[in-house]
């Protein structure tokens, strides 16, 4: 085993790449849950976004159009969830699961003719002078644009939630939908928009996997990333910057275990590859064990059905 082959600089740079798909999906789900809706279909929306983005990018030759298509695909799929839970008042847990199962089937159906193709390359943003700075250069200034987009999104979501009127309405709807309704806010409209935002973000996260991180299309390629995004929202206690921290932590674990695999650690590959999931569970346990403080963070109307008559 040769641990010296693992370079900390490259590790940090690649953990940012590994974390980006989960960060995108998690920040979208954060908005959805802040509006009081629990959408367990993140995995389904991610994988649909992955294939939509991949297919369109291959057909048009432009990754940017691919990412736009991925966001549209994710949002469109989430709209099914939105209509079912908001207008037909179905159980959110069951509908979210259905969305995941359907998304997995739909994506492998759409992706049949795209197996084994290489997508068009997404260029790294090689900022001239800055990216040549020894350690900081590769870490901060030598990524593709989506890494920065995800980071910007975290800041925008934080600003939007805490510094704008729309964010206040969204939180009001999530904390107490009856009161928000009584104040004249359109609960269902706010929630539908939030759900679609979540779907678009999950779609972007999926496309990041298929277009940049892997980059290839294989069936079921998200491999639980959507579920980990859901866990990270809980870990982050519904706060944007803690979600960022959680996603980067998880990215770090993933990259580290991949590096250990490559370095030929004595632990079998299978046990290393289950470590991100085990660590996610451990983190969930730690977070929920100190419920005293974090229970206040969960939106009070999370998962409850809203019907104006009640």
């Amino acid at each position: 085993m040769d641990l010296s082959s693992i370079s900390p600089t490259l590790l940090i740079a690649s953990l940012m790449v590994a974390a980006t798909p989960i960060l995108l999906a998690a920040i979208g789900e954060l908005i959805v849950e802040k509006a009081g809706v629990l959408n367990l279909g993140v995995e389904g929306m991610m994988i649909t976004g992955a294939i939509c983005g991949f297919a369109i990018a291959v057909e048009t030759g432009s990754p940017v159009i691919g990412f736009i298509a991925a966001a549209a695909g994710g949002a469109l799929l989430s709209l099914i969830f939105g209509v079912l839970t908001q207008y037909l008042l179905s159980n959110q847990v069951a509908t979210g699961l259905a969305l995941t199962l359907f998304g997995l089937g739909l994506s492998s159906l759409m992706g049949q003719s795209y197996v084994g193709i290489k997508p068009p390359q997404t260029n790294k943003l090689d900022i001239p002078v800055l990216s040549d700075i020894p350690v900081l250069g590769p870490i901060l200034f030598n990524h593709d644009i989506m890494v920065y987009f995800a980071l910007a999104l975290v800041v925008l979501v934080w600003l939007g939630l805490n510094r704008t009127r729309a964010g206040l309405v969204l939180r009001a709807v999530g904390e107490n939908h009856d009161a928000a309704h009584a104040l004249g806010y359109k609960v269902i409209r706010v929630r539908l928009l939030a759900i679609m935002f979540g779907g678009a973000c999950a779609g972007l996260g999926g496309a990041y996997l298929s277009l940049i991180r892997v980059p290839q299309w294989t069936e079921g390629m998200t491999a639980g990333a959507g579920w980990i995004a859901l866990a990270i929202v809980v870990f982050g206690a519904w706060r944007p910057f803690r979600v960022l921290l959680g996603a980067y932590l998880f990215g770090g674990v993933t990259v580290l275990q991949l590096n250990l695999q490559a370095a030929g650690l004595a632990i079998p590959v299978e046990y290393l590859s289950m470590s991100p999931y085990l660590i996610t569970i451990a983190v969930l346990v730690v977070m929920s064990a100190k419920r005293g403080r974090t229970s206040l963070a969960a939106p009070a109307s999370l998962g409850r059905i809203f019907h104006a008559s009640q």
Binding site: A98, F102, L109, Y277, L278
Partner: protein, 360 residues
């Protein structure tokens, strides 16, 4: 303007009729999907729903029906108890894998001893394996209030990694010339889960599934625990005032569903699948969620839903070979079924009101 008005109690008529409506709607939407894929929708629907039971080679497919429905029903019965109580075990796939590994390991440990005790020991180990795997989210939920949905699901990926390591390592066939996968149970009579009546597909797993249906029916309609399960799901606060211990209920629901999933895994691996291989699991643990909802979380309903779902599996394979319909189409088809089911559910709990909404 169409408005929804909550019914004082769920309509019994609509509870019974909605699954059929959902199946019908899925057939129409699925037909449209098949047409988009360039297949004749009527031929596809007939191949999926009619040919396996009444077609030319039905004598073969009818036995497959039980083989596929057995594990689905067994798992879905366990899940339905939890779903009723608001305990969401969606990691049945993981419990299924671990049950299969534990049971198979016990059987393989005795190879090549022949004894009538080996198979029962495997059954116990399989059930226990699934039970213990489901206890992880259970105990974490009770002790630390950890979300059981996320934990049970993340454990599926852990179980898959363990399965890979077992099929390539500890349980690999020593005489297998280096191929991955365990010894085949077909060549080990004491541990093989054979058809009880030849060529009917009726193996021990199917028998257990029927027993589970009966037990669940009695539990839910005649037993105090069944009443508590229903109460905890419908009115959690009332249940707590009524002396229901929520922690015990969580552990019971997760334990039973894990055990049944583990049993299903063992019966599958020692029978139809034949060996522990890296991909012997075909997603029954997830499809069983659809089965549980399609059966309205009711034991008899689940029995019928399991048979219907098994039909779509077999019909899907048939459509794959005869019409060239992609395998993924049937998966999307099954997901669609769950959507329609949840959508028409609104009619059970709400009344449609046409005309202008009166001012409150």
């Amino acid at each position: 303007m169409i408005a929804l008005e909550k019914r004082p109690t769920p309509s019994r008529f609509w509870t019974g009729i909605t699954p059929f409506l959902a199946v019908l709607a899925t057939m129409i939407a699925g037909g449209i999907m098949f047409a988009i894929l360039g297949k004749d929708p009527f031929a596809a629907i007939r191949t999926i729903f009619w040919d396996p039971v009444f077609g030319e080679f039905a004598f073969y497919y009818r036995s497959q029906l039980l083989v596929k429905a057995g594990p689905l029903i067994l798992i879905a019965i366990g899940l339905s108890l939890g779903f009723r109580a608001g305990v969401w075990n969606i990691g049945a796939e993981g419990q299924y894998i671990i049950g299969a590994i534990c049971g198979a390991a016990v059987g393989l440990a005795f190879y090549p001893t022949e004894s009538f005790l080996i198979f029962p020991a495997m059954v116990i180990a399989g059930g226990l394996g699934g039970f213990l795997w489901a206890m992880i989210p259970g105990i974490l939920k009770v002790k630390f209030q950890t979300n059981e949905i996320l934990v049970s699901l993340l454990l599926v990926y852990v179980a898959e990694a363990i399965l890979a390591s077992m099929a390539l390592g500890a349980l690999k066939n020593p005489d297998g010339a280096g191929f991955p996968g365990s010894r085949n149970f077909r060549s080990y009579p004491s541990a093989y889960n054979e058809d009880l009546i030849a060529n009917t597909g009726m193996h021990w797993g199917v028998v257990f599934a029927f027993i589970a249906v009966i037990f669940a029916y009695i539990l839910l309609s005649r037993h105090m625990l069944g009443f508590q399960i229903k109460l905890a799901g419908q009115a959690p606060r009332a249940a707590r005032f009524g002396g229901v211990n929520p922690d015990r209920l969580i552990l019971f629901c997760l334990g039973v569903s894990g055990m049944l999933a583990g049993l299903a895994g063992l019966f599958e691996v020692s029978g139809p699948a034949g060996q522990v291989s890296i991909d012997f699991n075909v997603g029954y643990g997830f499809t069983a969620i659809i089965v549980a909802f399609l059966g309205r979380l009711h034991p008899i309903g689940i029995l019928l839903a399991g048979l219907l779902m098994a039909l779509t599996y077999i019909g899907g394979e048939l459509a794959q070979s005869n019409l060239g319909l992609p395998a993924a189409a049937i998966q999307a088809f099954q997901g669609m079924l769950l959507f329609f089911l949840l959508a028409v559910d609104v009619l059970t709990n709400y009344r449609l009101r046409f005309g202008n909404r009166e001012v409150a």
